[in-house]
């Protein structure tokens, strides 16, 4: 499904500052996009607009040809799954399996199908041992795994992941990236909002937000290679690219770099 943002402006009722100042972009089916930007740049707000929890004060958002607005929300939300930033406040039920089943119940999935989907989702995030656990007995990362499982079970066309890995351990992250890669292969559209530049580097396309405006939208490798742009957007380069640039600054050629790395490795 194609996502279209057409000159979207947004302001919270309480504040008088414009949070999004005319955002336009199109994301095609099957694209894997990262959205990066400093704290408060409007990333989460953008995600909430897309799923119709907020509505723009100007401009419009479309999913294929359906406009995101009140009367279409039920249809639209069937196609979008979102993991929010704070895993504590999206755990609805009193046990892991019930929380994963919550979204399936809402779209009236038949019970036998639901049981299979819940089982698969629990397995995908390695939470088999915590199936009946109450959320208050889970860690932040475990709650994040449950939140991810909750949308995997629904298997929507579009996945929005708002800092969905911020609390995961290295193994959890690795598993997560594997899951996302299989989703991409299955033709799903994936939008990853993240502060982890190494994670962003995996995506195909990168959108940079700064104070509510898109300052760059392009191929991830180009965007994340632009040191000045990232610096002026209060962001960092991915560590691998940063290292590369630092070495280049010191006029190290490929051979010298290799030697220097060998030396480093041998010292250890």
């Amino acid at each position: 499904m194609k996502i279209v943002f057409d000159n979207v402006k947004f302001k919270y009722e309480e504040g008088n500052r414009e949070i999004l100042k005319g955002i336009s972009f199109t994301i095609g089916t099957g694209e894997w996009v990262s959205i990066i930007g400093h704290n408060g740049s409007g990333k989460s707000t953008l995600a909430k607009l897309l799923i119709g929890l907020l509505s723009p004060i100007e401009g419009a958002i479309y999913l294929d040809d359906i406009e995101v607005k009140e009367e279409n929300l039920y249809d639209i939300r069937k196609h979008i799954g979102i993991v929010f930033q704070n895993p504590d406040n999206q755990f609805v039920s009193t046990s892991v399996e019930d929380d994963i089943a919550f979204g399936l119940e809402n779209i009236s999935t038949p019970r036998d199908e639901m049981i299979i989907k819940v089982n698969d989702a629990i397995k995908a995030v390695s939470m088999e041992d915590y199936r009946y656990e109450m959320p208050s007995n889970l860690s932040g990362g475990q709650k994040q795994r449950v939140a991810i499982a909750g949308i995997l079970a629904i298997n929507p066309d579009i996945y929005i992941l708002d800092e969905a890995t911020s609390m995961l351990d290295p193994k959890g992250r690795e598993d997560f990236i594997k899951i996302v890669k299989t989703l991409k292969e299955a033709g799903k559209t994936i939008i990853m909002i993240t502060h982890d530049m190494d994670e962003a580097l995996l995506t195909d396309r990168c959108i940079v937000l700064k104070e509510g405006e898109i300052v760059r939208d392009g191929k991830t490798i180009d965007v994340l290679n632009d040191y000045d742009l990232l610096k002026s957007s209060r962001l960092e380069m991915p560590s691998a690219l940063y290292l590369y640039h630092q070495l280049k600054k010191k006029n190290y050629g490929n051979k010298e770099v290799l030697n220097a790395l060998w030396e480093l490795a041998l010292k250890k």
């Binding site: 799923i51 929890l53 039920s93 009193t94 919550f102 979204g103 809402n106 019970r111 109450m134 629904i154």
Partner: protein, 322 residues
């Protein structure tokens, strides 16, 4: 401060008590509680307590865990017990004791009180400490008469008074035990599911039992989280010098307000985000949906229900006959 308070005290296990239909468990709990109130003497109550203990044992529930469930009510039941002993003066005197107030006994009480509150902060078995404290106060009042008696009071314990206090004490404990069986063996999910089914008839009054169940679920879900948060804020404020355990009343109120304001703000945010999360997962209030959990009535459910009715019948018979 007691930080271990958990509303859903569910302890995993798998005896027949765990496998019973939550509907049966809820109804039986109510039936048994009602039967307790038909009992009129303390030995009948002791019998009932025996039956409850049998149920606990047959369900392989650890008695220690069940007693832990009594904890919040122990002090209250103790208070009720002593209140009855002191003020219920009917029947014949079975025990007399001269309680004297003298300089030495008063000093002793003050020292004991100091010690009690001091030791309390370092010890685990607070209830036993409380009992020791009360016993030592009694001993000081009974035996310390030096240098002269300022005031003396004759404590008379009457047989009826003792009986009633035992009766009230054991009745309270029995009722709490019954409730504990339910909460120890039933997952919050099943409990709300049971309530949902039992409240279905309310549809006549246009009350949707599914929504009630959802509200209960969310309350159960968030009570531990919000408590945890309260402790976190308290710790944060304690690390900046706030003292929640002492200080003048005014100071205490100030500290409590400083706890409540962030709690309210955080709770508003939480509820907003929770609603967002539910809506984005296609929650539509009142819409028909399928269910992940279903309840199945088994033979053992019928048996348990019949047994509960028999117990209720028995206690009603006792009530009528005696």
């Amino acid at each position: 401060m007691n930080r271990n308070f958990v509303l859903g005290q569910y302890v995993p296990g798998n005896s027949y008590l765990y496998r019973l239909d939550p509907r049966v468990k809820i109804i039986s709990t109510i039936l048994l509680m009602v039967s307790v109130f038909f009992l009129t003497t303390y030995y009948e109550i002791l019998g009932a307590l025996g039956v409850i203990l049998l149920i606990l044992l047959s369900g392989r529930i650890s008695i220690i865990k069940a007693i832990r469930g009594l904890k919040p009510l122990l002090v209250l039941s103790l208070f009720v017990f002593f209140f009855q002993i002191f003020f219920n003066q009917t029947g014949t005197v079975i025990y007399t004791s001269e309680l004297v107030f003298s300089i030495s006994s008063i000093v002793s009480i003050i020292v004991l009180t100091f010690l009690f509150f001091f030791i309390r902060r370092f010890i685990k078995f607070k209830f036993i400490l409380l009992l020791i404290y009360l016993a030592s106060i009694y001993l000081s009042l009974a035996y310390l008469a030096y240098p002269n008696i300022l005031y003396s009071y004759t404590l008379n314990i009457f047989d009826k008074g003792l009986e009633t206090s035992l009766f009230v004490f054991f009745r309270l404990i029995t009722v709490v035990f019954i409730a504990t069986i339910l909460t120890l063996t039933t997952k919050p999910t099943d409990l709300t599911l049971g309530i949902e089914y039992l409240l279905k008839p309310l549809k006549v009054f246009k009350i949707n039992s599914e929504e009630i169940a959802l509200i209960i679920t969310i309350a159960l879900r968030y009570i531990p989280t919000i408590l945890e948060e309260a402790y976190r804020i308290m710790d944060a404020q304690a690390s900046r010098g706030a003292d929640f355990n002492s200080g003048s009343l005014f100071k205490k109120i100030k500290i409590i307000v400083s706890l409540l304001i962030p709690m309210f703000i955080i709770s508003f945010e939480r509820s907003d985000e929770l609603a967002d999360a539910m809506l984005s997962r296609n929650f539509v209030p009142g819409k028909e949906k399928t269910k992940y959990h279903i309840l199945r009535w088994k033979a053992i459910d019928t048996m348990s229900l019949v047994l509960s009715f028999i117990l209720l019948g028995g206690s009603i018979c006792l009530f009528i006959i005696v």
